[in-house]
Amino acid sequence: MPETNSDKAIKRKLNILYIEDDEIEEMKLNRTLRSLEVKHQITVAENGEKALEILHSKTIQPDIILLDLNMPVMDGIEFLQIMKTHDNFKFIPTIIFTTSNNPKDMLECFKLGIAGYIIKPLKYDEYVDKVRTLLDYWGLNELIRG
């Protein structure tokens, strides 16, 4: 369905912190955003440790965080545990974006407090649909800024 002007008006441009160690996955998301013609700003951190550095340095104020789980150095769950203890970061909606459907990980993430758990589909068209839906939804939300 074509997007109307009123649809566009209510969607926000999001500042997204994408925590992902795999260069191919990073290229995939960036490419998908380009093809969807959305103007969100993506900053990539290759692991949880780098993501915390970015948050502390305040170079960006992410509206949402997309978080992979399986990463070297500091994985997604370790990152969540730390950010949830920090007053300035713990409110940032964090959506798990992973290929892992491990029920233990999922439960642990929801216990720690996440805003969503999205499994990356195998097929590209399904991947695009999920990314579009996710960003449309968050673009409609009122978010804490600054």
């Binding site: 795999d22 191919i24 290229m27 995939k28 490419r31 399986n70 070297p72 290929t99 195998l122």
Partner: protein, 108 residues
């Protein structure tokens, strides 16, 4: 292995942008042997948890080369390795070999 690596996923992703495809495949080509080597080393040392993480990373590349059945096998293998079980090693190595042979023939 009943399926063959292919570029349909990459074509869909690139939307016909050949420069993007080349760049993308160059990275896959560069990383795949390194990831495979790490996996082999961890299996040889019976570091199954580490090997599970290697399989997890390799799954991205399996899906990019359009190997859906192999992706399912890799998913199962990753779960097994996490539990310390190493039964699908040969089938998994067969997938990696097929991918590497295929990529060798592709100009990037």
């Amino acid at each position: 292995m009943n399926e063959q690596p292919n570029l349909s996923y990459v074509h869909e992703l690139s939307g016909g942008d050949h420069d993007f495809e080349k760049n993308f495949l160059r990275i896959v080509k560069r990383e795949l042997p390194l990831d495979a080597e790490r996996f082999r080393e961890n299996i040889a040392a019976e570091n199954f948890k580490e090997a599970a993480a290697n399989v997890h990373k390799l799954k991205h590349k399996i899906s990019i080369l359009g190997l859906e059945d192999s992706h399912r096998l890799a998913q199962e293998y990753e779960l097994q390795l996490r539990e310390g079980v190493n039964k699908l090693e040969n089938s998994f190595l067969e997938i990696l070999d097929a991918m590497m042979n295929y990529l060798e023939k592709i100009q990037t």
